[in-house]
C-alpha cells in the first residue's frame, strides 16, 4: 500500500491522534504567546506525557506544539511589541506600528494565514525532497556556517529602518554584549566583573523582552504623560470588533496577492530550517531581507511593511519541518526541540538514521501529515487566540502597563529562575528606550545576541584549524563557503552603493 495513504490513515483515521493534535495546538498557542516561555520549554514539559503514548501520538503532540507556538509568538509581538519567540523579532516594529494604526486585524490575519500556508508548504517540500536535501546538511562545516551566520546578521542590518549605519551600530552593540560570560571556546570568563551569575552570559530571551517590551512600556508612559488625547479614545482605537470574515478574509486576501512571494519564502524557510543550528530565527530574517529586495515599497520595511510580515511569518513556520530532516536522517538535532524529539524516538525504539526513510517510511510520512494537520488545526485555535488576545488592548492603559511589566518580569525569570535575567531585562529595556530615541533599530541587537556566540565559535574554530591564516575562510576546496562569502560581499557592496546614490540624490535636491 502507498505509504502516504497509510500515513494519512494513521493520522486522520485515529481520533486519538486528532484529539492530541487539537489539545497540543491549544497548549502550543498558549505557551508561545507568553513572552519568555519558548517552544522548547513547552516540548520539554510534554516529554513525560509522551511516555504513555504510541509513537505517532507522541510525535503528534510535539509537532503540534511547535508548529503552533511559533505562530503564537506573533500575537504579543503585534499587540504589545513583545516578540513571543525570537523568530518574530525581525518584524516587531512593523507589526506594532500597524497595530497603532488600528490594523491589528490585518497583521494577525496575515500572520495566521501565512503561518499556516508556510507550515504546510514546508512539510510538503520536505516530504517530496527531504531525503535528497539531507545531503545539504552534511556539506555544512564550520566555514559554511560562519558565512551563513554573517549573512544572517547582514540581513538584520539591511532590513532595519533608518540609516544603515545605525543598524550596523546596533549589530555591533549586540555582538559585544553577546561576548559577556564564559566564552564557549576557551571557557574563560569575560566582562563578568567577578559575578558568577554572569558566567552564563546575557540570555537573549530576557534581553529581547527588555529591548522590545520594557522599552515600549516606557514609551507608552511617556506618550500618556505628553499627549492630551482623550484616554478613552486612545485606548479604544482597537475596538472595531474583529469578525471572522474580516480577520481571515484579510489574511487570505494578502495570501492571494502574494502567491509567488509566499512560495519563495517557504522555500527559503525550509532550506535554512534544514541546517542544524540555523533554524526558524535566521529563516525569518533572511526571508524578510529577500522580501525587501523584491518589494516595490522597500522603504516601508522595518517601519510598517505588511508584505515583510507575510513573508517572514511564512518562512519561520516553513523552517520548522526542515529541522526534522537532519534529526531523522543523521540523528543530529537542528535545534533543542528536535534534540528532544530524538530522545522521544529512541524511547519508542525507533532509531533515526539514513534508512529511516526505507524502514520507517510510514512514520516519516506520518510526521509530515501531522505537520499539515497541526497547521490546519492552527486556523481555528489561532483564530480563537487572536480573538481572546485582542481584548487585551481594550483594557485601559493604566491597568495594562503595570500588568505587562509584571509579565515581562515573570517571563524573564521563569526561563532560568535567575534574578540576573530580570536585571538584564531591565537594563536592556532602558538601553532600548535610549537607542530608539536616537533612531537606532533594536531588532539587529536581538539577532546579534543569538548569533554572536556562534559566529565567534566558528571564527575561532576556523582560525585554529588553519593555524592563523585567513585562507581558512576562503578555502578553494569548499565552493559552498566561497559562494556564501560571495553573497555576503554582494549584500554589502549593494548596500553601500545604494547609500552613496541616495546621498548624491539628496544633495542634488538641495
Amino acid at each position: 500500500m502507498n505509504p502516504i495513504l497509510t500515513a494519512l490513515q494513521n493520522v486522520f483515521g485515529d481520533p486519538q491522534v486528532v484529539l492530541i493534535v487539537f489539545l497540543s495546538a491549544f497548549f502550543g498557542v498558549f505557551v508561545g504567546s507568553i513572552p519568555g516561555l519558548t517552544a522548547t520549554m513547552a516540548v520539554a514539559l510534554l516529554v513525560p506525557i509522551t511516555y504513555w503514548l504510541d509513537p505517532i501520538s507522541a510525535l503528534a503532540a510535539v509537532v503540534s506544539v511547535v508548529a503552533c507556538a511559533i505562530f503564537a509568538g506573533d500575537i504579543p509581538n503585534t499587540l504589545l511589541r513583545i516578540p513571543g519567540t525570537p523568530a518574530s523579532a525581525a518584524y516587531a516594529n512593523d507589526a506594532h506600528n500597524l497595530t497603532r494604526q488600528g490594523k491589528s486585524d490585518l497583521v494577525l490575519g496575515t500572520a495566521l494565514v501565512c503561518s499556516v500556508v508556510g507550515g504546510i508548504l514546508g512539510a510538503i517540500v520536505l516530504m517530496l525532497l527531504g531525503h535528497q536535501l539531507a545531503k545539504v546538511a552534511t556539506a555544512f562545516s564550520a566555514v559554511e556556517y560562519f558565512w551563513l551566520y554573517l549573512l544572517g546578521l547582514s540581513c538584520a542590518v539591511v532590513v532595519s529602518s533608518g540609516p544603515k549605519l545605525n543598524g550596523l551600530l546596533a549589530l555591533t552593540i549586540g555582538l559585544l554584549i553577546s561576548t559577556v560570560g564564559l566564552s564557549a571556546v576557551h571557557s574563560k570568563a569575560r566582562f563578568t566583573f567577578g559575578v558568577a551569575e554572569l558566567y552564563g552570559g546575557i540570555n537573549f530571551i530576557p534581553a529581547m523582552i527588555g529591548l522590545f517590551g520594557v522599552s515600549e512600556v516606557l514609551n507608552s508612559i511617556l506618550d500618556s504623560r505628553h499627549s492630551k488625547l482623550d484616554e478613552k479614545r486612545k485606548t479604544r482605537i482597537e475596538d472595531r470588533g474583529s469578525r471572522t470574515s474580516s480577520l481571515l478574509g484579510l489574511g487570505a486576501g494578502m495570501l492571494f496577492r502574494r502567491k509567488g512571494h509566499v512560495l519563495r519564502s517557504a522555500s527559503i524557510g525550509s532550506l535554512i530550517g534544514m541546517l542544524p543550528g540555523a533554524g526558524a530565527d535566521i529563516a525569518a530574517w533572511v526571508s524578510f531581507a529577500v522580501s525587501k529586495r523584491f518589494s516595490k515599497k522597500p522603504q516601508l520595511y522595518g517601519q510598517e511593511s505588511i508584505e515583510g510580515i507575510a513573508d517572514a511569518t511564512t518562512a519561520n513556520n516553513a523552517a520548522l519541518a526542515g529541522a526534522w530532516i537532519p534529526a531523522l536522517i543523521l540523528g543530529i538535532p537542528g535545534d533543542s526541540v528536535t534534540a528532544i524529539v530524538i530522545g522521544v524516538l529512541l524511547m519508542k525504539n525507533i532509531t533515526p538514521g539514513p534508512d529511516i526513510f526505507i524502514k520507517q517510511t510510514e512514520l516519516v510520512y506520518s510526521i509530515y501529515v501531522i505537520f499539515i494537520l497541526a497547521n490546519i488545526m492552527l486556523i481555528p485555535v489561532g483564530f480563537a487566540a487572536i480573538k481572546a488576545a485582542s481584548r487585551l488592548v481594550r483594557i485601559p492603559k493604566a491597568i495594562l502597563l503595570p500588568a505587562i511589566l509584571l509579565f515581562c518580569i515573570v517571563g524573564s525569570y521563569s526561563l532560568n529562575a535567575s534574578y540576573i535575567d530580570v536585571t538584564v531585562m531591565l537594563v536592556m529595556g532602558v538601553l532600548g528606550f535610549v537607542l530608539e530615541r536616537r533612531k537606532v533599530p533594536l531588532a539587529p541587537i536581538v539577532l546579534a545576541l543569538i548569533l554572536g556566540p556562534m559566529v565567534e565559535e566558528r571564527f575561532i574554530q576556523i582560525i585554529t584549524g588553519s593555524d592563523g591564516s585567513f585562507t581558512g575562510f576562503f578555502n578553494p576546496q569548499r565552493p559552498l563557503a566561497l559562494g556564501l562569502a560571495g553573497v555576503f560581499a554582494l549584500v554589502w557592496t549593494s548596500a553601500v552603493v545604494i547609500a552613496i546614490r541616495r546621498q548624491a540624490k539628496s544633495k542634488r535636491k538641495k
Binding site: P354, L406, A417
Partner: protein
C-alpha cells in the same frame, strides 16, 4: 468599615502618588466583597498546606544543562519517576550557562531543606580545578549516581584508519595535523583524548583540538569533513554509528559495554586509560538526615525502576544506581584524578593562541569605527518629532524602573505573590487607578499569574517565607 475605607482617603499633600479617592458606602461593600473573594481564591489556590510531612510542596530539580540535551533528558525521566514516588510535583529547572558553573553553584547554594535537588555531572569534578568556580563535590551531599558513559574515539567510515593503532601511527607521523573535537577546550572529551595521547607517550598538542559546543555539532563537523577525530560517548554517536557513517576505534572503559559488545576497550588494545562521564543526584550540604533519607529512597526506586532502565537501554546510555557512600568515594577519587590531569603539562599554563579577547577586540574596533561614522554623519541625532522628556515623565519612568529593582530585591524573601502585589499597587496608584479597581486587580493579577506559571505551567517563580 468606614475606618477601613478612610485609609485610602485622598491626601492632598501627596500629588499623584498614593492618590486614592474615597468612595461611597455601596461601592465600599462591593469592593470589600471582591477583596474577600479574591483573598479566598488566593489562599485556596496557593495551597496553604502546612502539613509536617516531607515533602508537602513541589521540589525543584536543577539541571545544569539545556533542555533537549542528554542530561536534560535523563533529568526529566527521573523527575517524572520521582514525582510518582514522592507524591509532589518535581519541576526540572534548566539552570544553564558557564559550562555547568551556573547550575552546580545554584544547586550547592540552595536552601538545604530538601526541596532542591541537583543533577550533578562530571563537570563538578573539573570546573574548580580550572579556577572557574569554588564549588566542588564537597559542597554537595551525593545521593546516587544514576548514569555513567565511557568515552570513545570515532572516525569517518570512509577514512583509511581502521584501528586505534593505525590512527596512533598517523598522529605520530604528522604531529599537529589531525583535527579533533567533541566538546569545548578542557571539557571531558578533550581530557579523554589528551589522556590517551599522553598514555601512549604523545603530547596533547599532537592533535589540534577544535573547541565545539558539544558532541552533536562535532559529529556534524566530522561528517562535513571539517574534523578527523571525534571523542564523545557512545550514546551520543549511536545514530551515526548504527548507520555505518562513523567507525568506533575503541572505548575507554575497563570492560566492554553491555549495549556495544562488539566494540573493543582501550585496555584490550593495550592502552591503560579509562575515562567516563557520570551523572548523579545530589543535595546541598546540611539537609536533615530524615529528609535526605526520603529523597535517597525515592531516587533509588526511580533509578531501579523498569521504565528508567528501559529508557536508558533504548538510548544506549549506561544506567547506574550507585548508592550514596560508594558515590561519595567515587567522586573523591575522580576529583583527585582530574586534579592531577589539570595540573599536568597538557592543561596547566596552556595559552590559547587565539585567545578569548580576540573576538571582542575585533568587535570593539568595529564599534569605534561605527560610532565615529555615526557622529560624522549625524545619524544619531534624536528625532525632531520626539519631544523632550518632561520632569513628570522622567519621574514616572524612574518609578517604573525602581519597581523592577524593588521586585528583584524583595522577591526571594517575600515570595512572588507579595512582591508582585507591592509593585503593582505602586504602579497602579502612580497611574491614578482608583483603589476600588486597583486593589482587586492587584490581588487577582498576582494570584492569577502565580496560578498560571507556578501551578499550571510549573515554571519556577520565587518562593518566599510563605512558600508562595
Amino acid at each position: 468599615m468606614s475606618r477601613f475605607a478612610c485609609c485610602f482617603k485622598e491626601h492632598p499633600g501627596l500629588p499623584g502618588f498614593l492618590n486614592f479617592t474615597s468612595f461611597d458606602y455601596a461601592q465600599d461593600m462591593l469592593y470589600i466583597l471582591i477583596f474577600a473573594f479574591s483573598s479566598l481564591l488566593l489562599s485556596v489556590f496557593s495551597g496553604c498546606d502546612r502539613r509536617d510531612s516531607f515533602p508537602n510542596r513541589p521540589i525543584t530539580f536543577i539541571c545544569p544543562w539545556g533542555a533537549g540535551g542528554g542530561t536534560d533528558r535523563i533529568s526529566r525521566q527521573l523527575a517524572f519517576r520521582l514525582e510518582q514516588e514522592l507524591g509532589v510535583p518535581v519541576n526540572v529547572v534548566n539552570a544553564t550557562g558557564g559550562g555547568g558553573v551556573t547550575g552546580h553553584s545554584r544547586g550547592a547554594r540552595a536552601r538545604p531543606d530538601g526541596y532542591t535537588i541537583t543533577m550533578v555531572t562530571v563537570e563538578l569534578n573539573m570546573l574548580h580545578w580550572r579556577g572557574l568556580t569554588s564549588i566542588s563535590h564537597e559542597d554537595f551531599e551525593p545521593v546516587m549516581m544514576v548514569n555513567q558513559d565511557a568515552a570513545a574515539v570515532f572516525v569517518r567510515t570512509d577514512s583509511q584508519w581502521k584501528t586505534l593503532g593505525e590512527l596512533e601511527q598517523v598522529i605520530r607521523d604528522n604531529p599537529g595535523k589531525l583535527k579533533a573535537s567533541g566538546t569545548a577546550f578542557g571539557g571531558i572529551w578533550h581530557v579523554a583524548l589528551v589522556g590517551w595521547l599522553t598514555t601512549i607517550g604523545l603530547q596533547a598538542s599532537d592533535v589540534t583540538w577544535i573547541a565545539m559546543s558539544g558532541a552533536a555539532p562535532s559529529l556534524q563537523e566530522l561528517m562535513a569533513d571539517g574534523l578527523d577525530i571525534v571523542a564523545c560517548s557512545l550514546p551520543e554517536a549511536q545514530v551515526l554509528l548504527k548507520a555505518d557513517k562513523i567507525r568506533c576505534l575503541g572505548v575507554m572503559a575497563d570492560r566492554r559495554l553491555p549495549g556495544y559488545p562488539e566494540i573493543s576497550t582501550f585496555k584490550e588494545l593495550g592502552v591503560d586509560w579509562q575515562v567516563s562521564t557520570h551523572r548523579g543526584i545530589a543535595l546541598p550540604v546540611g539537609v536533615s538526615e530524615s529528609r535526605s533519607l526520603v529523597i535517597e529512597n525515592a531516587v533509588a526506586r526511580a533509578a531501579k525502576s523498569k521504565e528508567y532502565l528501559q529508557y536508558m537501554g533504548s538510548t544506549g546510555a549506561g544506567a547506574a544506581a550507585m548508592p550514596s557512600e560508594q558515590y561519595t568515594r567515587f567522586l573523591e577519587k575522580t576529583d583527585k584524578a582530574f586534579g592531577s590531569i589539570f595540573a599536568g603539562p597538557s592543561f596547566e599554563g596552556f595559552q590559547h593562541k587565539y585567545g578569548p579577547m580576540l573576538f571582542p577586540a575585533v568587535l570593539s574596533a568595529l564599534l569605534g569605527i561605527c560610532l565615529l561614522a555615526c557622529f560624522a554623519s549625524g545619524s544619531l541625532r534624536s528625532t525632531p518629532d520626539r519631544e523632550e522628556i518632561s520632569r513628570t515623565a522622567m519621574l514616572d519612568m524612574s518609578i517604573l524602573i525602581g519597581c523592577v529593582v524593588l521586585y528583584i530585591l524583595t522577591a526571594e524573601t517575600l515570595g512572588f505573590v507579595l512582591s508582585a502585589a507591592v509593585i503593582l499597587l505602586i504602579l497602579f496608584s502612580r497611574m491614578r487607578v482608583k483603589s476600588k479597581i486597583a486593589i482587586p486587580a492587584t490581588v487577582l493579577l498576582a494570584s492569577f499569574v502565580y496560578q498560571l506559571f507556578a501551578v499550571g505551567l510549573r515554571v519556577p517563580l520565587p518562593r518566599g517565607f510563605l512558600g508562595w
